[in-house]
């Protein structure tokens, strides 16, 4: 990983944040013109997160967006027209009008998995993507996002725990924008830093200023490369704020005014623009160029989108099932010798040899890795050393020490 970004990279980050905002501004206009079917979500003020994190991925890597990650889609290569058409339920949209918003994906080229509305479901799904990529030798990383609110779902826990046990090359960005719909983070999660959720899975975490695109990119880049190197999943908490309501319909009157004011002064694009200017990475001319480019692009994309027809009614009946090879030729892309995972090479003794748990009968004492690419855990102790803690009742993070009498009573009992 480079320590400094190239000029091009600095500018790219700027361009994509601007594009992200411009695409969403355009959609607000479309919404006001009643051209958007259903609701419209906004990532205003959170662009640095989507853009910075997705920019850390390689082309072969996989991502799955949530509702406020239009920026990530743009970075990954989705044309704005697709986003417009998804929201307008047009026939030329990636889902042909069958679903809306960011609910679309692209398995073959861009490596994007579609979200569904149910929060958290993508976490195990992207864990599976990461595991499959590793299995096939593709050296990919999978990334998705979750909100502060979504981190309370059961599937967040199941997915991240599973990813951790598997050391899956998976990066999860937790966008802590302080609100889940009308509910403040404090009512959903009784911890100060949501990064602490990582402690339940023994995985590493970062806390990042989510309104700082370079910080976001740097943290994501490091996490992605560590995950790729086999260090297991990583959780990044990005601190930010949801500037608009939950969706267009919501005036968000429940948000304290001071809070809003505080964050409005920290707009990620404004901040970054100042930085780029002061560092002489952007001048008025190149800024204008970027603005013109975006304007021209979006005019074209919007026109295309608006001209696309609505899907024909009968399409509703089609494609519940894949009909076979004529519909999808499903072939795994092997980038390692298949012989590694087929007999006789794949054969192992069916006994537990996880370090620290010893081995079952007949294992010959060898340690089998619990997953592909796992280095033997050096810090593990052997079975007989794994006694319970010497102190009988130790409190982790407790406020008062446990009463001494009881402890000594049972200390004796053990002798």
């Amino acid at each position: 990983m480079k320590k400094e970004l190239t000029r091009q990279q600095y500018v790219d980050l700027y361009y994509y944040m601007r594009l992200n905002r411009a695409v969403e501004d355009t959609m607000v206009k479309l919404f006001r013109q009643n051209k958007i079917v259903g609701g419209l979500y906004s990532s205003l003020g959170q662009e640095a997160i989507s853009v910075g994190s997705a920019y850390a991925l390689e082309k072969k890597d996989w991502l799955a967006p949530m509702i406020r990650n239009i920026g990530a889609l743009l970075v990954k290569g989705v044309p704005p027209r697709d986003i417009f058409m998804q929201h307008m339920a047009k026939y030329d949209s990636p889902t042909k009008g069958k679903d809306g918003t960011s609910h679309f994906g692209d398995l073959d080229n861009l490596h994007i998995v579609s979200p569904i509305s149910m929060l958290g479901d993508l976490i195990p799904v992207m864990t599976g993507v990461a595991m499959a990529g590793r299995y096939l030798g593709q050296k990919i990383v999978a990334m998705t996002w979750i909100g502060d609110g979504g981190s309370s779902t059961g599937v967040f826990h199941e997915g991240l725990n599973f990813a951790a046990t598997q050391k899956a090359p998976f990066v999860l960005i937790l966008e802590n924008n302080l609100w889940a719909y009308s509910t403040p983070v404090r009512k959903q999660v009784p911890v100060e830093n949501l990064a602490d959720r990582a402690k339940a899975y023994g995985i590493d975490s970062y806390i990042v200023d989510g309104n700082d695109v370079v910080a976001m990119y740097s943290a994501a880049k490091e996490a992605v490369e560590r995950a790729r190197a086999g260090e297991g999943p990583i959780l990044i908490e990005a601190k930010t704020f949801r500037r608009l309501g939950h969706a267009q319909h919501d005036p968000a009157e429940y948000v304290p005014k001071e809070m809003r004011t505080y964050w409005e002064a920290r707009d990620p694009i404004t901040l970054y623009e100042k930085y780029l200017t002061s560092e002489k990475l952007l001048d008025a001319k190149s800024k204008k160029e970027i603005e013109d480019k975006i304007e021209a692009l979006l005019a074209k994309e919007r026109e295309f989108a608006e001209n696309s027809p609505m899907p024909p009614a009968e399409l509703a009946e089609e494609s519940v099932y894949c009909t076979g090879d004529d519909c999808h030729k499903i072939r795994a892309k092997w980038e390692r010798p298949v012989a590694e995972v087929t007999p006789p090479k794949s054969s192992v003794a069916a006994v537990w040899t996880v370090p620290g748990f010893g081995s079952g009968k007949g294992s010959g004492g060898a340690n089998a890795p619990i997953h592909f690419g796992d280095a033997p855990a050096a810090t593990e102790k052997s079975v007989s050393e794994r006694k319970p803690p010497a102190k009988i009742a130790t409190k982790t993070g407790a406020k008062k020490p446990l009463k001494a009498a009881a402890a000594s009573a049972s200390r004796k009992a053990r002798r």
Partner: protein, 339 residues
């Protein structure tokens, strides 16, 4: 689902007020919480925000933080906790922000909540309610009609009303029932239909269907938004001299077999209309019941008009094609009447 005329609210007593479907639900919760401090409400954004659809607006202001609880996004925890509360004699009302999310708590509902009374004599008086149904371009994850998952689960009661009067009266009955009750609120009806409801307290009995329109040529069974569609079709049928008897099932579990059989024994023909997908929908169950208990009375096949066997598509053109409508009901009913 075009015309929404608040049909079938003739039960409304004089002196009542015209209220929306949504307001009827809000009133039911308000009055039940007023009546009984054991009634509490929990769900995502039900407090300060008053619920995604504003069905609980004003409840926090009146009943306070202890009784109106904003929860984390944890459907299993919400329903599990409500079940635990019910064991101490509370009568929790649980809101699913959209009924689609109820499947996130599917195990908790079908295994814990539904089976307690049968297995260990533990009643769980609680209501699980939320906005359901399509027609508003909510797409595949905000338009669910999950009723059959629960009709197929012994131990639950399932209600799906079509009028403000019923919504209020049935929700009140659900709160007072000693069993777990699923209460589906078709969101298409929330603000589109109004109906008269009496000023005072009343309940509508769970498990009773209602004849919305009398007729003799065939029986149309329906519920929720499709009730209105069926009535619309019945009007059109009447123009052609076909008098359809339209029955609002209102409660899907337990089904009011008596009312259904009585009507079919009179008309000898039955069409079931539901917005739920076809395969495994309630029309099948009704066909089986009619075979078992009224086979000799049937002068034509039990027919069904339902949504397609697909997820709910997003685009209006697609969703319109996916959903039943008055024309489809009209066509099927005419065919059946001629049988």
């Amino acid at each position: 689902m075009a015309k929404m005329n608040g049909a079938g609210t003739k039960e409304a007593a004089a002196g009542g007020a015209q209220v929306t479907f949504l307001e009827a639900i809000r009133q039911a919760m308000f009055e039940e919480m007023e009546r009984d401090p054991a009634v509490v409400l929990l769900g995502e954004d039900v407090g300060v925000y008053g619920g995604a659809f504003k069905t609980s607006e004003g409840l926090l202001a009146r009943f306070g933080w202890e009784r109106v609880m904003d929860t984390p996004i944890s459907e299993s925890a919400i329903i599990g906790a409500a079940c635990g509360m019910s064991y101490l004699g509370l009568r929790p009302i649980v809101e699913m922000q959209f009924i689609d999310f109820i499947v996130c708590a599917f195990n908790q509902i079908t295994n814990f909540v539904a089976k307690g009374h049968y297995l260990w004599n533990a009643p769980a008086p609680m209501v699980i309610r939320g906005p359901s149904g399509g027609g508003v371009h909510g797409g595949p994850f905000h338009s669910a009609n999950p009723e059959m998952y629960f009709v197929h689960t012994p131990g639950l009661k399932v209600i799906y009303p079509s009028t403000p009067y019923d919504a209020k009266g049935l929700l009140k009955a659900a709160v007072r029932d000693n069993n777990p009750v699923l209460f589906f609120e078709h969101k298409f009806l929330y603000r589109r239909i109004k109906g008269e409801i009496p000023a005072g307290d009343y309940t509508v009995p769970i498990g009773k269907a209602m004849v919305r329109r009398e007729g003799r040529h065939l029986t149309i069974l329906s519920y929720a938004a499709m009730m209105h569609t069926s009535l619309e079709a019945a009007e059109a049928l009447a123009q052609e001299g076909i008098e359809a008897e339209v029955i609002d099932l209102r409660t899907l579990l337990p089904l009011d077999e008596e009312t259904i059989l009585q009507s079919v024994k009179k008309t000898n023909k039955c069409l079931v209309v539901h917005e739920d997908t076809k395969t495994g929908g309630i029309a099948g169950e009704i066909a089986a019941i009619l075979c078992e208990k009224a086979f000799d009375d049937l002068d034509g096949p039990v027919m069904r008009v339902t949504s397609l066997d697909t997820p709910v598509p997003y685009a209006p053109t697609l969703e319109d094609h996916f959903l039943p409508n008055a024309k489809k009901v009209f066509t099927a009913a005419k065919e059946l009447a001629r049988y």
